[in-house]
């Protein structure tokens, strides 16, 4: 029998490692899918079918020289990527990815497959997201470069604008689930309607899901909302001046944020680890399948849709998405009061 705290520690290490692996897989998948969409081969030299390419990239980045522009704020320039990466990892801490388990009888107590089951998990997620903005702002400011500063400003205003719709669409799910804990939300989605339709909130909240996904793409600064790094205008946005490991940390943070956004969407709208055929202790397989589908959708979108113009982005966020999200919340709340839970 393994004591509880060792099991908990094991879960923390596993989450950390899996996030790194997930980021590597995402980099590879992104390049392969992009290549397929553009009728190219993509990476194919390093490892079988190029699958070791991400590792080669990491090694290359580590051995590069760390450059710091003249006039850059020394402390903040190095602090910014650390804030970004830390926030990205920390956000996943409150995301549950499987049902309660005793790890095949290895431990006495049943523990839930997540780092921390906080009863205000959704709000913690928001708090960490809002802190992660500092990584970007500080990177842009401390680089002492106009491209970085403009990229950071765009990125921040975009994130702040879309965070509102993100939060409101999420609130309507919380109203239905009657819980602020992500585990509670997932457990509210178990079972089926009429025997075959899974009780996922995406069917109760189609508008909410749509808003959540759009705002999620904007939050993670992905195409078609990748204004912060619009290459033609800004070189690379807030991380223009970064090289080597600091750059890698931004890169890592970006992909982990995508994984987290997909995981949260899965927990909130797609029933988390609930699915047919598999027993509950293998629910994490369903979870991975759902995350994979959402991430594939992200990549697909990036290589299909052109980038929006900045004013279009802001108009869409404030004048379309936000009113729609507010309306959705009001209708949902009225529905919950009228029909009961």
């Amino acid at each position: 029998m393994i004591p509880l705290y060792i099991a908990q520690f094991g879960i923390i290490l596993a989450v950390f490692g899996l996030l790194l692996v997930a980021a590597a897989i995402m980099v590879y998948a992104e390049r392969k899918v992009a290549a397929a969409i553009q009728q190219r081969y993509g990476p194919y030299l390093v490892g079988p079918k190029g699958s070791l390419q991400p590792i080669a990239d990491v090694i290359k980045l580590i051995f590069k020289e760390v450059l710091r522009p003249k006039g850059a704020d020394r402390i903040l320039f190095m602090l910014a990527p650390i804030i970004s990466a830390t926030a990205a990892f920390a956000a996943f801490a409150v995301v549950p990815f499987g049902a309660e388990t005793d790890l095949f009888g290895l431990i006495d107590h049943r523990i839930s497959l997540q780092v921390a089951d906080v009863n205000v998990a959704v709000l913690v997620l928001f708090a960490i997201t809002s802190v992660s903005i500092y990584g970007i702002v500080l990177a842009g400011w401390s680089s002492n470069s106009k491209y970085s500063l403009l990229g950071a400003l765009r990125s921040t205003s975009q994130m702040i604008s879309y965070e509102l719709s993100y939060g409101l669409s999420l609130a309507s799910v919380l109203v239905i689930a009657n819980s602020l804990s992500l585990t509670g939300v997932v457990n509210a989605q178990s079972g089926t309607w009429l025997g075959f339709i899974p009780r996922w909130f995406v069917f109760l909240q189609p508008v909410g899901f749509l808003i959540f996904m759009i705002a999620g793409v904007a939050e993670t600064n992905r195409a078609p909302f990748d204004l912060p790094e619009a290459e033609q205008e800004l070189v690379a946005g807030y991380h223009t001046e970064y090289s080597s490991t600091p750059f890698m940390m931004f890169f890592l943070a970006e992909y982990i944020n995508m994984v987290t956004a997909a995981a949260v969407a899965t927990d909130l709208f797609l029933g988390g680890w609930h699915g047919p055929w598999l027993p509950e202790y293998l629910g994490w397989i369903w979870f991975l399948v759902k995350i994979g589908a959402i991430l594939f959708f992200y990549i697909w979108m990036r290589w299909t849709l052109p980038r929006l113009r900045y004013d279009q982005l802001m108009t869409f966020g404030w004048k379309v998405l936000l009113p729609l999200a507010a309306l959705n919340l009001i209708v949902t709340a009225a529905g919950v009061i009228y029909f009961g839970n």
Partner: protein
């Protein structure tokens, strides 16, 4: 109780140190960031007081939303010039210094007065009612119900205040609407 006290002194110390550095620092950018550190330490103190909701809200609203705007302002004003301003205009700085000192004395007096009254806080003189139990504070449902029933007036007044401030800012920023 031991760990709780230790955590209190740890985060309290961080909050006080960071706040002091905010005031004493010369680089406005660093001051803004240290203020965020101070807010984060306060949030940690709320958690030790069994009130995770208040802690998270503290981070989202103060450390997240408000300080980002502060940071924007400092960034875009490019305020590196504080040192020259202080050394060059020592004469003009006198009056604000006196006013600040006066305010500091008033604040200190107020704090001492409040601390001397803490023994009466248990009677509910300071909290304005019987102290609600710790579990109830952490529960978002209870919090929401209190906010929209007992404290509805204060809540509405606050929201009107914020609306007025927002309208005022828009009017000031946009001369012709």
């Amino acid at each position: 109780m031991g760990t709780e006290l230790l955590l209190f002194y740890l985060f309290g110390g961080v909050a006080v140190t960071a706040s002091l550095l905010v005031v004493l620092g010369r680089n406005p950018m660093h001051s803004v960031l240290l203020l965020i550190v101070s807010f984060a330490a306060l949030a940690a103190l709320y958690i030790t007081l069994d009130s995770p909701f208040a802690a998270v809200i503290q981070i989202i609203i103060y450390a997240g939303a408000i300080m980002v705007l502060f940071l924007f302002v400092v960034m875009l004003l490019n305020a590196h010039k504080e040192d020259e301003y202080v050394s060059g205009g020592a004469q003009t700085m006198k009056k604000p210094l006196y006013a600040g000192a006066l305010l500091a004395v008033v604040l200190a007096a107020e704090l001492v007065w409040a601390l001397l009254r803490t023994d009466r806080a248990t009677d509910g003189l300071l909290t304005g009612g019987a102290a609600p139990d710790a579990v109830a504070i952490g529960d978002v449902r209870v919090l929401g119900q209190l906010l929209f029933t007992d404290y509805a007036f204060a809540f509405e007044v606050t929201s009107i205040l914020i609306i007025v401030a927002m309208v005022g800012a828009v009017v000031l920023a946009k001369r012709e609407l």
